[in-house]
Symmetry: C2
Subunit: 238 residues, 2 copies
C-alpha cells in the first residue's frame, strides 16, 4: 500500500461526507437549542447551502431530520422555519418529560458510579459558571445536556434519544414562553439531584425530579399570542 502518493487533493471527498452532514446538522440543531435561532426564524435552503458549502440536497436532508424532531416546521412551498411550539405542545412535552425522566431515576440511581457522578457534577458546575458569567446560550445548552446525559445513564437508548428530543423542544418552549433572563433550571437543583442519585436513593431522586420539572413548567407564562387580525377570522369562524 503506497500511502505516500495516495490522497493529496481532497481529504474531504471520501467518507467525510457523512461526518460533514452530521456536523452541519449539529450546528443547526445547536443554534436552535441555544436559542441563537429563535422560533419563527426562517431557514432558507439557499442561504444554508451557501453558508455550509454544500448543495441544497444535503440541506434538505438535514432540514427534514430537524422537522421530524419537531425543531423546525416545514410548510409546503413556504420552506423551513424554527418551530414555534403551541401551548398544547408545551404541556405535552413537559408531561412526557415528567413521566419518562422521573420513571428513569431509579434505573439511573442503580447504575450510578463515581465516574458518572463526577461527570454530572462537572456539567452542573459549568452550567452554574455559564449562568453567572451571563452566557445564557451556553447555560441553556448545558442544562439540556445534563438532563440528556442523565437519561443516557439509564442504559435505555430508545428512551434516551426521546428525552433528547424532548429537551431540545423544551429549549424552544422556554424561548417562547419563558421569562427572559430566568432560565428553567434553578442553579443548585441539579447538584441536589446528583446527591440523591449518588446515594442510590432512586425514589428520592424521582420525587425531586418531579418537583424540578414542575417548577420549570410553572415558571412559564402560557399566553398564546393572539393573531394580529383575528376579527375576520372570528366572523367566519363563528
Amino acid at each position: 500500500m503506497s500511502d505516500a502518493q495516495a490522497v493529496v487533493k481532497r481529504p474531504a471527498s471520501k467518507a467525510e461526507g457523512d461526518e460533514r452532514h452530521e456536523a452541519i446538522y449539529r450546528a443547526v440543531s445547536d443554534a436552535i437549542v441555544e436559542q441563537r435561532l429563535k422560533p419563527g426564524a426562517r431557514l432558507r435552503e439557499d442561504a444554508l447551502a451557501e453558508v455550509f458549502g454544500i448543495s441544497r440536497t444535503g440541506i434538505r436532508k438535514i432540514l427534514q431530520r430537524l422537522a421530524l424532531e419537531q425543531l423546525v416546521t416545514l410548510t409546503p412551498r413556504r420552506g423551513a422555519s424554527v418551530t414555534r411550539p403551541t401551548a398544547d405542545e408545551a404541556k405535552d412535552v413537559f408531561d412526557a418529560r415528567q413521566l419518562i425522566e422521573c420513571g428513569l431515576m431509579p434505573d439511573v440511581a442503580r447504575r450510578m458510579g463515581e465516574k458518572e457522578a463526577a461527570e454530572l457534577r462537572d456539567m452542573a458546575k459549568r452550567e452554574r459558571q455559564a449562568l453567572r458569567s451571563g452566557q445564557q446560550s451556553v447555560a441553556i445548552r448545558l442544562s439540556a445536556d445534563f438532563h440528556v446525559r442523565l437519561a443516557q445513564l439509564s442504559g435505555n437508548a430508545a428512551l434516551a434519544a426521546f428525552v433528547e428530543q424532548l429537551c431540545s423542544r423544551s429549549s424552544l418552549i422556554l424561548a417562547v414562553y419563558g421569562h427572559p433572563g430566568h432560565l428553567g433550571c434553578e442553579s443548585h437543583d441539579h447538584d441536589d439531584l446528583i446527591g440523591y442519585l449518588e446515594t442510590g436513593n432512586g425514589e428520592r431522586a424521582k420525587a425531586f425530579m418531579n418537583r424540578h420539572l414542575k417548577a420549570i413548567e410553572a415558571s412559564l407564562s402560557m399566553v398564546e399570542e393572539e393573531e394580529n387580525v383575528p376579527d375576520l377570522q372570528q366572523i367566519f369562524g363563528g
Copy 2:
C-alpha cells in the same frame, strides 16, 4: 380567466405530491409493520422508485424518514434494508413501552368515554377475527393499532407518536425473535384491558398492561444469531 383550456393534462400536479408521498410512506411502513417486508430485506431505491412511479429523490426522503424511525437501516454506500433489531434494542423498546404505556393508563382511563370504548372493542374484535381466520399480517397491524390508539386517547400527542414508533419496532422484534404463529398479544387481553379502562380503574389497567407487555416480552426467544464466520473477528477483536 379562461379555464376551458387551462389544466387538462395532469390533475395530480398541484398539491397532491405531498399526499402521494405520505401514501407511499404508509405503504412501505405498513408492509414492514405487517411483516410482508421481513427484517434484512433490501430496499433498492431504483426498484421502489419504479414501483411507485416517482423519482429516487422522493424515495430517498421516505427512506430517511423510515430510518429515523428505526424501521429501516441506512448503510452508507450499501443502501437501505429493513432493520433487524438486536436483543439490546428489543429490551430497550419493551422497557420503554412498559414505562410509557403503563404510565399512560390512568390518563386513558380518565378520558375514556363510550365512543372510545366502542372503537377499541371494535378493533379488538377485528383483531380476534383476523387471528382466527389466519390473517396474520392483519392481526399484527390491528394489535399495534390498538396500542397506538390507546396512547392517543391519553391526549398527549408527543407520547402517542413515540408509542407509535415503539409499536412499529415491536413488530420488527416479533418478526425476528417471536415464535412463528404465536402473536404477541393474547386474544382476550385487549378486551380485558378495555373493561378496566371503561370502569375508570386506571391503576388496575396499569397493572394489567404491565403484565400484558411482560408476557409478550417473555414469549420472545432472545437468541442473537451468531455471525457465520466470527472466528477471525474474535481474533482481531480480542
